[in-house]
């Protein structure tokens, strides 16, 4: 330490100058402040969701359909069962469409296309697709499947709009994870005399699986909260059901309808539905994180 015979003069050479200390403190305060400011809306959102939404939660809230009766004080407005079921059904169908296609595209890009010009073109369009506003997907499905066929809203049409939204997310996340699989594993599988397809199925995919599941869950979480693609594709309805070719309710649409209502109890139902949606997405995110932690890749 200092007492080991060094004169104060010689120690001063190694001391932090007051100017640098001031600057350091200022910079630290600045970035801490930015972090706190960013936290404010997050905390407020969770605070309002909990205080306003929890009051709406009850067992009947989850087990009854909305009645559509919003003007008479004494009658029940019902719960959000059809919205929860609808969101699950639509998102499940959207995943069933986008996940196999998306992972197929990612496998092609990484294992076959590599740096070929066509692979570059595909990557470019996937990037473009990632940046497309979600309402455009709704509009596209509306034009093609509703106006184009002269038919009306249906759950599966909403699912198609959502699957288009999910597709680029699934492709990109799966591609990144597949690229993380070390080439040395591919080489040793090939060197053992494995045909390429067997190398992919037996070595590459199992290694990449946890990461791909995480990516898929995050894509699902994103799609589940989207309103715009469903507005004029799936429609809105009160009744729950499993007919994907009929109108289908969903949580974002339920919230959208309820929050604009003048009736206080209906507005509260919007908060309850919003809290439900956030809880569902949070659960998906947590599962995704748990799986990612178990991944064997960095």
């Amino acid at each position: 330490m200092s007492a080991a015979g060094a004169t104060p003069d010689r120690l001063a050479r190694f001391a932090v100058s007051p100017r640098r200390r001031r600057r350091d403190n200022l910079a630290r305060a600045g970035i801490l402040g930015a972090t706190l400011i960013a936290l404010v809306p997050l905390v407020l959102i969770i605070y309002y969701l909990l205080t306003k939404g929890l009051g709406a939660w009850s067992s009947s809230f989850f087990t009854t359909d909305p009645t559509g009766n919003t003007f008479f004080k004494n009658s029940s407005i019902g719960g959000i069962k059809s919205a929860i079921l609808g969101t699950i059904e639509i998102v499940a169908l959207a995943s069933a469409i986008s996940v196999p296609i998306g992972i197929g595209v990612a496998i092609w890009l990484v294992e076959y296309g590599r740096d070929s010009w066509f692979a570059q073109v595909v990557r470019f369009f996937v990037d473009v697709l990632t940046g497309v506003p979600s309402i455009i997907f709704g509009l596209f499905v509306y034009i093609v499947l509703i106006v184009g066929t002269g038919s009306t809203y249906a759950g599966y049409k909403g699912a198609i709009a959502l699957s288009l939204l999910m597709l680029p997310v699934v492709i990109r996340s799966a591609e990144v994870v597949l690229l993380l699989v070390p080439d040395s594993l591919r080489e040793s599988a090939l060197a053992l005399g494995a045909p390429r397809w067997r190398m992919i199925f037996s070595v590459v995919l199992p290694t990449a699986l946890p990461g791909m599941v995480t990516g898929v869950l995050l894509a699902i979480a994103r799609a589940a909260g989207e309103t715009a693609p469903l507005l004029f594709t799936a429609g809105a309805t009160l009744k729950s059901g499993f007919n994907l070719s009929g109108f289908m309710n969903s949580l974002p649409i339920q919230i959208y309808g309820d929050v604009t209502s003048p009736t206080a109890s209906v507005e509260q139902r919007a908060w309850g539905a919003a809290l439900t949606l956030v809880a569902m997405i949070l659960a998906l995110n947590l599962i995704a994180r748990l799986i990612a932690r178990r991944s064997r890749l960095a």
């Binding site: 040395s184 591919r186 040793s188 599988a189 053992l192 005399g193 067997r198 037996s202 070595v203």
Partner: protein, 300 residues
């Protein structure tokens, strides 16, 4: 990507230019497959593989337009260990990756010339690259067991991946692990992940994995460079054992290792073969001054 067809100059190899090559085959009296019937030569009865001689003829390897291996003629004799030495970047790894056609897996890379496994040119258009790799196994620089698989599955992977499944899978796995000198250490924990073993054990697991498919030749690309001296010694003892049943080609940066394990040693420089001969000759009285400079540590 597609290897260029062998040009005419390599198909008619002057027998007088390499009298040794011709004699070698007749002396050892191994079966000589009919040229053209490649499938016959590459289709083997599992468990009955015997070491085969590999000959490189005018082998050239490219990355894009860059020529990394510049016309090498070299023979790896059956049941012998041949060491490839040379400074970094001289093309020795590229060269052995051409022997099981792994070189062409790199985008933009291709090879020219001929690689004969006994009498079959593995670059012939009618040869299935998958069959080549079953006959010529490879052990890489870094131990790379499949991370999702157990010790057992890692060894069985060789059989499963090449589509050969048998009722005696367990016996084959055990025999491969025994041959790799790993059985005693892992027999009680075959279900544990292969990645949980030590580096040296992992490398012997990788050797067991390639042995399980009964190759005639095993290529080793600096198999000990990531291992400590004791693990290295074990691998070297193993190599000594294995040459009874396979032909071994080992790339090494460690000249003591070459001296310890190899029957013959080849010195490569700038993508060309400088000299090949009995290991002792190469290290004690090389004919080429460049070899002498390299083995005495003057460069490289």
């Amino acid at each position: 990507m597609t290897p260029t067809e062998p040009s005419t100059n390599v198909t008619d190899v002057d027998p007088e230019a390499s009298p040794e090559l011709g004699r070698e085959t007749s002396e050892t009296g191994r079966r000589t497959p009919i040229v053209g019937e490649h499938t016959q030569a590459l289709a083997r009865i599992p468990g009955q593989a015997t070491a085969m001689t590999v000959r490189l003829q005018e082998l050239r390897a490219f990355y894009g337009a860059a020529e990394q291996v510049r016309g090498i003629d070299l023979e790896f004799r059956a049941n012998e260990v041949t060491a490839i030495i040379g400074p970094s970047g001289c093309g020795k790894s590229t060269m052995i990756r051409c022997i099981n056609r792994m070189h062409e897996e790199i985008p933009g890379a291709h090879a020219e010339g001929r690689v004969l496994l006994d009498d079959v040119n593995i670059y012939d258009a009618s040869v299935d690259v998958v069959a080549v790799r079953r006959a010529i196994g490879m052990v890489f620089q870094k131990p790379n067991p499949f991370p999702t698989m157990s010790i057992f599955d890692n060894v069985a992977a060789g059989l499963r991946l090449s589509g050969r499944r048998g009722s005696d899978l367990r016996a084959k796995v055990e025999s491969a692990l025994r041959s790799a000198g790993l059985w005693e250490e892992v027999s009680e924990r075959l279900d544990e992940p292969g990645a949980g073993l030590s580096g040296g054990q992992q490398q012997r697991l990788c050797i067991a994995r390639s042995l399980a498919v009964d190759p005639e030749v095993i290529l080793m690309d600096e198999p000990c460079s990531a291992l400590d001296p004791i693990a290295t010694l074990k691998i070297e003892e193993l190599i000594e054992e294995l040459k009874r049943r396979v032909t071994i080609v080992i790339v090494t940066h460690n000249m003591q290792q070459a001296a310890r394990v190899a029957d013959r040693t080849a010195f490569i420089l700038g993508g060309e073969l400088v000299e090949v001969g009995a290991t002792q000759e190469i290290f004690t009285k090389p004919t080429d001054p460049r070899t002498e400079e390299y083995v005495t540590g003057k460069f490289g």
